[in-house]
Amino acid sequence: MTEINSKPVRILLQAFNYGLFMALIWYFASAPSVRILDDDEAVITIAFAHAGQLREPCRRLSQQELDELAPNMRKPEDCPRQRSPVTIEAWLDGEPFYSASLPPPGLFGDGGVDVFHSAKITAGTHRLSLRMNDSVRIEGFNHGLEREVRVDPAQILLVGFQSERGFVLKDGLK
C-alpha cells in the first residue's frame, strides 16, 4: 500500500481531494436546475371537497312504524346514509381535459369526495367549461359553469366548488 512520503505533496493532494469533495457537494446542492413550467405556461387546478347528495331521499315514518320503535329511537325521518358519486367533466377551449366519476368513500359509502386535478396550460385567454352531477336522482348535470378566463404565465387558476355558490374560480391565494 503506497503512501507519498513528501509531506508538502501529501498536503497538496489532500487539499485537492477535499476540493473535489466540496465541488461535488457545491454542484449537486443546486444544479442542474429543474424546469417546471415554460415561460408561456400556467396551471389550472381543480381542487375541492364535496359530498354527493343522498342516494335516496329521507322518508317520513308512519305512526305505526314509530310506535314499533323504542321511545328514544323515534326519529320522524329515515335517511339512508349512502351518498351519490360525484361526476365531473371539464373542457378548455372545447377540448376535454378532465373527466371523472368519484364514488363516495367510507365503509357505508357516505363520505365526501376529494376532487383534485392539475394540468399545465398555455397562458392567455381560454374558454373554460365545467359541469358536475352529484345526485343519482338527477339525469344529466346539475351544476355547471362556462366562462372566459385569462391566466398569466406561472399563475395557478384554481377551480373550487361551494354547495351554495356552485363552481368558483380563484386566480390565486395568499
Binding site: S33, R35, A154, L173
Partner: protein, 520 residues
C-alpha cells in the same frame, strides 16, 4: 486471484486516498465516523439557526433572509454549514453503502447491520426534506406540493393533502408540525436507528481521526464562505415556481413527479429499498463454521470477549464446576467466524501439548489452532531454499500464496487476527528465518479489528503479547489487498536482504531433543 470489478473499483479509490491521507486518515476507512461527525456539525449549526429562526409561514423566509444577508458572517455561515454538511452526509453514507457492498460486508452474519442501514438512510433523507420545508421559499413549495402528492397517492389520504397547498389550507399550525418533526421527532428517530445499526458491533467508535475531522470541517467552511447557501423567492401558493435549483442529494425524487404519477414514484422508491434490503439474501454467502468453546481449556480470562468484533461472545458464570469464576459462550447468530477469538486465547500457544493434538479454549472447527501449527511445521519442513520465509496471510487481503517461491511460502488463515503471536515465535524456533504477516489493508480489516489487534499484540499493547524472546528483526507486519502485490514484493525483497545479513535463526532441529523438550 481476480477480484470482482466492483471490489476492484473500490480498492482503486481506496489506493488513491491512501496516497495522500495514508491509512490512518483515509476517509474511506472512516465513512461511518465521518458521517457521525457531519451529523454533529449539522446538529450544532441547526441549534444555532433555531435561535433567530421565525417558525411561521410569514416569518420563516424573512428570518432566513436576514440570517443569510444581514448576518452572513455568523448565522449565514452556520446556515451554509448546515446545508453543506447535510449534503456531505449523503455522500459519505452512499460511499459507506458502496464500500460495504463492494467488500462483501453485507451478508451472512452482517445482514442485520445492512438491513437496518437502509431505513436509516431514508431517515436522513426525510430529515433533509423537512429541513427544506422550513425555508418556505419556492423550493419549499415545490417540495411541499410534491410531498403532498406522494402522501395523497397512499390510500389513507385520498387527495386531501395536496388541496391544502393550493386552496389556502396551509397554516402556521401545520408549519409548526413540520418544524417539530425536523427539530425533534426525526433526529430522535435517527439516533435510535443509528443505535440499532451498530448494535451488533463491539468497540464502536463514532469519532473520526482529528486530522480528518479538522480537514473536512475546514473544507466545509471554505465552501460556506465561497458559495453561501441562499434561498429562492418566498413561497407563493398562487403561482407555480418556473425553475427550481434543487438539492439533488435530498430532493432527487421530486422531479420524477413531473414525469410520472405519484404511484409509480412510490413503486420505484419502495422497489429500490426492498431490493437493497434483500441483497443479503439475493447474493448470499454462507458464513464459516462458528467458534466453539472448549471449557476444559478455557479459564474464563475474557480476552476473547474483549477482542470479538461482533459482540458474539459473552462472559458468564462458570457452569462446569471448575475453579474459575467465569466461562465464555458464543452466540452463533452473531459470530462472524473470523477466528480472532482463537488468536486471542492464551491456550492457543503452540508450545503446549507438543506431542498430541493442541487444544485451546475457543477454536474454529474449519481451521483449528492445531491445524495451523501442523501447517507451519509441514510448510517449513518442505522448504529447501537458502532462506525460509513464512508468509502468513488472510482470506480477505492479498493471497500470500501468490508469492510462493523457493525461499518464500504462504499460509492463509481466516483472518490475521486469528494468529496467536506465539505461533510466529514457534515458526522461528522451527526453522523459519523470518515471518511476514500480511493481513487486510491497515484500518480496513474485513473483520474490523483483525489487523489492528495483531499489530497491538505484536507491539505488546494488547494480550496475548508477542513474547520478548521472539526476534523482532525477523518479523514484519503488513496490510495488503490484491492490487498491492507489487509493493509487497518490494518489501519482501528488502526483508529478504535484512534476513541474509542476520545470523541464521536457531532452529529447534539444530538443538538436542532434550533441550527442545525443556524449552517446549
Amino acid at each position: 486471484m481476480l477480484v470482482n470489478p466492483v471490489k476492484r473499483a473500490y480498492l482503486a479509490l481506496e489506493s488513491w486516498f491512501n496516497l495522500s491521507f495514508g491509512s490512518e486518515w483515509n476517509p474511506l476507512y472512516h465513512l461511518g465516523t465521518l458521517s457521525f461527525f457531519l451529523f454533529w456539525v449539522v446538529l450544532v449549526s441547526g441549534i444555532y439557526l433555531f435561535i433567530p429562526f421565525h417558525g411561521s409561514l410569514d416569518g420563516a423566509h424573512a428570518s432566513i433572509e436576514y440570517m443569510t444577508h444581514q448576518q452572513w458572517y455568523a448565522a449565514g455561515v452556520m446556515r451554509s454549514l448546515h446545508r453543506y454538511a447535510s449534503d456531505a452526509v449523503i455522500v459519505t453514507v452512499l460511499l459507506h453503502l458502496f464500500k460495504e457492498f463492494a467488500s462483501g460486508r453485507y451478508r451472512g452474519f452482517r445482514w442485520f447491520s445492512w438491513v437496518t442501514g437502509i431505513p436509516t438512510l431514508w431517515m436522513v433523507v426525510t430529515l433533509g426534506i423537512t429541513g427544506y420545508w422550513l425555508v418556505w421559499d419556492e423550493m419549499a413549495q415545490f417540495v411541499a406540493v410534491g410531498s403532498a402528492r406522494l402522501m395523497d397517492a397512499l390510500p389513507i389520504f385520498s387527495g386531501a393533502m395536496t388541496r391544502n397547498f393550493v386552496s389556502g389550507g396551509m397554516t402556521d399550525r401545520f408549519f409548526i408540525l413540520i418544524e417539530f418533526l425536523h427539530l425533534l421527532g426525526q433526529p430522535l428517530l435517527l439516533v435510535f436507528m443509528l443505535w440499532l445499526h451498530v448494535k451488533r458491533m463491539s468497540n464502536v467508535n463514532i469519532n473520526p481521526p482529528r486530522g480528518l475531522a479538522a480537514g473536512t470541517f475546514a473544507a466545509l467552511l471554505a465552501l460556506s464562505l465561497y458559495e453561501p447557501a441562499t434561498s429562492h423567492a418566498p413561497a407563493n401558493l398562487a403561482r407555480v415556481p418556473q425553475e427550481i435549483h434543487i438539492d439533488w442529494f435530498y430532493l432527487n425524487v421530486y422531479p420524477l413527479l413531473e414525469l410520472w404519477p405519484a404511484q409509480q414514484v412510490w413503486m420505484l422508491t419502495i422497489g429500490v429499498t426492498l431490493l437493497l434490503m434483500m441483497t443479503p439474501w439475493l447474493l448470499p454467502k454462507k458464513d464459516g463454521a462458528k467458534a466453539v468453546v472448549d471449557l476444559e481449556h478455557c479459564n474464563g480470562c475474557g480476552i476473547c470477549f474483549e477482542d470479538c468484533p461482533f459482540d458474539a461472545i459473552t462472559l458468564q458464570a462458570r457452569s462446569d464446576g471448575a475453579r474459575y469464576d467465569h466461562e465464555v459462550a458464543v452466540d452463533p447468530a452473531l459470530c462472524g467466524a473470523c477466528g480472532i477469538c482463537a488468536g486471542s486465547c492464551p491456550a492457543s500457544n503452540p508450545f503446549r501439548m507438543p506431542r498430541g493434538e493442541l487444544k485451546t479454549g475457543i477454536d474454529m472447527p474449519q481451521l483449528p489452532v492445531d491445524e495451523m501449527r501442523r501447517r507451519v511445521r509441514e510448510t517449513l519442513d518442505s522448504m529447501l531454499g537458502e532462506l525460509k520465509i513464512l508468509l502468513i496471510g488472510c482470506e480477505h487481503g492479498l493471497n500470500v500464496e501468490r508469492l510462493d517461491g523457493d525461499e518464500v511460502r504462504g499460509i492463509r488463515l481466516i483472518c490475521s487476527g486469528m494468529l496467536p503471536p506465539t505461533l510466529v515465535e514457534y515458526a522461528l524456533k522451527h526453522g523459519a528465518d523470518g515471518v511476514m504477516v500480511v493481513g487486510c489493508r491497515q484500518n480496513d480489516c474485513y473483520f474490523r479489528f483483525g489487523n489492528r489487534w495483531t499489530r497491538m499484540r505484536f507491539a505488546g499493547e494488547r494480550k496475548p503479547i508477542l513474547r520478548a524472546r521472539a526476534e523482532r528483526e525477523r518479523i514484519l507486519i503488513h496490510g495488503a489487498a490484491e492490487p498491492d502485490i507489487g509493493a509487497i514484493e518490494d518489501d519482501l525483497a528488502g526483508f529478504r536482504e535484512r534476513l541474509r545479513e542476520l545470523k541464521p535463526a536457531e532452529a529447534v532441529s539444530s538443538v538436542s531433543p532434550e533441550t527442545r523438550r525443556a524449552r517446549d
